[in-house]
Symmetry: none
Subunit: 124 residues, 4 copies
DNA sequence: GTGGTCTAGACCACC
DNA sequence: GTGGTCTAGACCACT
């Protein structure tokens, strides 16, 4: 389920956060559901438990998951809203990237094609 | 001309690189032209000269600028092509971001609006 | 009667202890009276019996309740005094919190209002 | 300056957070000022650097301090507001404690005396 | 079994 | 020198 690239320059704990957010968005993990325990995921990915814990506790701080000590981590009921809102916050960043690309002479059609691809994939 | 945000988590030398690339793309600095010296820029931004040097030498490695010992740094003739090509390489990254946003339920119109804005600004 | 919040970061057994102490203070449960059995309470709250047992045995150690093997747990005669004394011990902690709030610029009136509210509610 | 009680049940990193917030509130450390480096504080308190880092990065997340990699941690300009707001959020918790104490028969005068003490100390 | 705190030590990036 | 990531392993509290 989870897949980590240890060579990537984006930290492992960030990769875990991103993937879990993705799983929440696409419904692989539903609100209220329990997520893999720190230990089990650390074994599965052959990663140190502390790394998993860091990812989980940051998601906890953001209100996306919550911990029940002795039982495990669970997805918050309003997790979907929070994750979506976070993505909205990245729109300005997107605008900056687009402006760069426009400046670099990347044709508008190239961009639009990518947009369409992203949104038709979602329709399925 | 250059502006650095010390609070940002993107390294200062990266910020310098990005800004210089932008200046090359929008024609503020033309190919063959000399760019600010390491010392002058370090004074202007009150930044350690080593930080400027790191940015410049990476741009040098990429073939975007070149150094003439004793005179300074100059923009390569084919700098524009190289910078543009680098932006093209970021298209796949863009696709990934777009897919995320589609999944997050951000309306396609919102994206298209941003695309149009970026490209009309460029028309000027 | 008892209500447990599994999402809270305060342990369940602590919540049970606090609630039972509250019931003793406000007279819902009188000294000498029997309290819910470990098994029945565990069923009612859908909680592991060990959790209930831990709460009860700590209250036992404190001299607030006592167990009669084969019959159940009962409230000690002097339970009220012991619980009250425990609350007195928290006064210093309260002072520290108040000092913090004073430092944070919370107006004294705001505090006094809360004090009055707590004590008028008690008059009822 | 900082003092940690390793025996306390409140985690060391929490103690560090609390003390730093206190220093910000009482003006010992002003907004914009640099705070002790992770390493220096770890040496001074004979505590592992990771423990300091955990405290600092949580304060970073809360927007109370910010890090400039390679330079150190600094107090945010609006740190005072954020810390004060956090204390306000604890008012409801205070109300609950007060209600408990009222129920326990602690005389109102005892409470008022503590309130006055906290607020006259602040007047100095 | 679960999460959570802490330690000791390594390595990297940035300044 | 600074912060930041990651590992390995210990110990505690909760269920």
């Amino acid at each position: 389920m989870f897949q980590i690239d240890a060579m990537s320059r984006t930290p492992m704990y960030e990769q875990i956060k991103e993937q879990l957010e993705k799983f929440i968005l696409n419904g692989t993990i539903a609100p209220g559901e329990q997520i893999p325990s720190v230990r089990s995921l650390s074994l599965q990915l052959s990663i140190n438990p502390n790394t998993i814990l860091k990812a989980y506790s940051e998601l906890d701080t953001q209100g996306i998951i919550y911990s029940v000590p002795g039982k495990g981590y669970f997805v918050c009921e309003n997790a979907l809203d929070i994750v979506s809102a976070a993505k909205y916050d990245k729109l300005d960043e997107l605008s900056a990237v687009l402006a760069d690309m426009a400046l670099a002479g990347i044709p508008k059609e190239e961009i639009l094609q990518r947009v369409n691809k992203a949104y038709t994939k979602h329709d399925r």
